[in-house]
């Protein structure tokens, strides 16, 4: 099982592109935490509809309470990684969990680095 997980992780980690590309390509995720975050996002996407529907049954004042308790148990039985709460918006380049601006998906350090090198379109040093 560990080998299977490792294989899967390796496959996920290695993004082999089918066609040769002249641009710079990152073929690995930055670190394992980023990879886990990617896994969580994928499972959350898969189970999103089910979670929504079961929650609709649970957060209800019309249906009988027994039905809602059954629904509670069902949603707890789903894989833990399928809940969207566990997703952390990490920096895309450095995998930093804190100080990440949502619009650029970059941490503050990387953002500053690129903005100073004039590689961020429309971003300028503030001065007023």
């Amino acid at each position: 099982m560990a080998a299977a997980a490792l294989c899967w992780a390796l496959r996920a980690a290695r993004q082999v592109l089918p066609s040769p590309c002249p641009r710079q390509v990152r073929s690995y995720y930055v670190d394992w935490r980023m990879l886990r975050d990617v896994k969580r996002r994928k499972t959350a996407y898969e189970y999103a509809d089910e979670r929504l529907r079961i929650n609709a049954i649970r957060k209800n004042s019309i249906l009988p309470r027994e039905l809602q308790e059954v629904a509670d148990k069902e949603i707890a039985a789903l894989p833990r990684d399928s809940c969207p709460v566990r997703i952390r918006n990490r920096c895309v380049l450095t995998s930093r969990p804190r100080g990440v601006k949502r619009r650029w998906r970059l941490s503050r350090i990387v953002f500053r680095h690129f903005a100073d090198h004039a590689q961020m379109s429309g971003v300028q040093r503030a001065m007023w």
């Binding site: 066609s19 209800n60 027994e66």
Partner: protein, 343 residues
């Protein structure tokens, strides 16, 4: 006087036939203010089959020729007049009375011998009619053996004035071939001028020239022995693509490449790219028909009606997704039916 000026112009240009139409047209254009020109304009604008300005030019050119001939053959010119009139009567086909009247009017307007001009005009009209009949019957003309498919194009005077240059160039082409041996005869000149503004009807219809040998078009051997391409074929294709895919030379090519890959959107931006919702609005809103599997009373029905109300207000889901949503609930409640009956 203007007539003498005209005659001198004609004599000068008599040597080269190419410039006669030019000279004639120029002279016509110069005399725009004279009443003669106005009359000519009026006649030219008349809705008849043949345009008279052409006739006038031909007439003037033929007159210049006739002047040259008259110097050589003095007495014969007078004899040609009654011959012309007898010719008119001898020709079986009667001319249009309007044309005759117009011809007489034109002849009277010109400073030359009026009878002679009139007879010339009528003779030319006759020839015109003959050749149109010949064309209608489909008879080939000896001069035009090489260019087999041509039809005469009628032109209004307005068009003609616009196309004089084109006509002159055509005349040059034709005259380069045939002017030398057939200079004296007026008929050939007229017919050649007459065929000045011809146009090709079509390329494939008509007598073949047998210049090119016809290549037999074999049916393409589209049948492949191997139905699916082998791995080696795929590899070869990949290799070829990798070799031919040169890096972009400029920003435009880079943008094209990105658009093909899907990185860059297509401009102008279409908000509905990838979203093909062919369903009508009523299929989105009136979802009660999907509620047939549920009991008609009770809390479940109440719950499902709320669900449907929410779905009808949702613009982001397609009809298929909404139907799937309702079906999931149906399946879920069927599984829990025993539990529900206990309650």
């Amino acid at each position: 006087s203007t007539s003498s000026v005209l005659s001198t112009d004609k004599d000068k240009s008599a040597a080269s036939k190419d410039s006669t139409p030019e000279g004639a047209s120029k002279s016509l254009k110069d005399g725009a203010e004279t009443p003669k020109q106005q009359l000519l304009d009026i006649i030219g604008n008349m809705k008849v089959e043949v345009s008279y300005r052409k006739k006038l030019q031909q007439l003037k050119s033929s007159e210049s020729k006739k002047q040259v001939l008259n110097k050589l053959e003095g007495p014969d010119s007078e004899g040609s007049v009654p011959q012309g009139t007898t010719e008119d009567t001898q020709r079986g086909k009667p001319l249009n009375p309007e044309l005759v009247k117009a011809a007489s009017a034109v002849a009277s307007s010109l400073p030359r011998n009026k009878k002679q001009t009139e007879s010339e005009l009528l003779a030319q009209l006759r020839r015109h009619e003959e050749t149109t009949d010949k064309q209608k019957k489909g008879g080939t003309i000896n001069i035009r053996n090489v260019i087999s498919e041509m039809t005469v194009k009628r032109q209004t005077p307005a068009q003609r004035s616009g196309r004089i240059s084109g006509r002159i160039s055509l005349q040059l082409d034709e005259d380069g071939q045939r002017i030398r041996p057939e200079r004296s005869s007026a008929q050939s000149i007229d017919s050649r001028r007459y065929f000045c503004f011809v146009h090709f009807q079509s390329l494939k219809v008509g007598k073949r020239l047998n210049i090119f040998t016809k290549t037999s078009t074999e049916p393409e051997h589209a049948l492949k022995t191997v139905s699916s391409p082998t791995i080696w074929d795929l590899e070869f294709a990949k290799e070829v693509a990798a070799v031919t895919a040169q890096p972009p030379r400029n920003g435009f090519e880079e943008m094209i490449q990105w658009t093909k890959e899907g990185i860059l959107w297509e401009f102008p931006i279409d908000n509905e790219v990838g979203m093909e919702d062919d369903a009508e609005f009523h299929e989105h809103i009136f979802l009660e028909k999907h509620l047939e599997g549920f009991p008609k009373e009770g809390p479940i029905r109440h719950f499902m009606e709320l669900v449907i109300c929410g779905l009808s207000k949702n613009p982001y889901l397609s009809v298929k997704q909404k139907v799937e949503h309702i079906e999931w609930f149906q399946k879920y409640f069927e599984e829990k039916k025993e539990l529900l009956q206990e309650i």
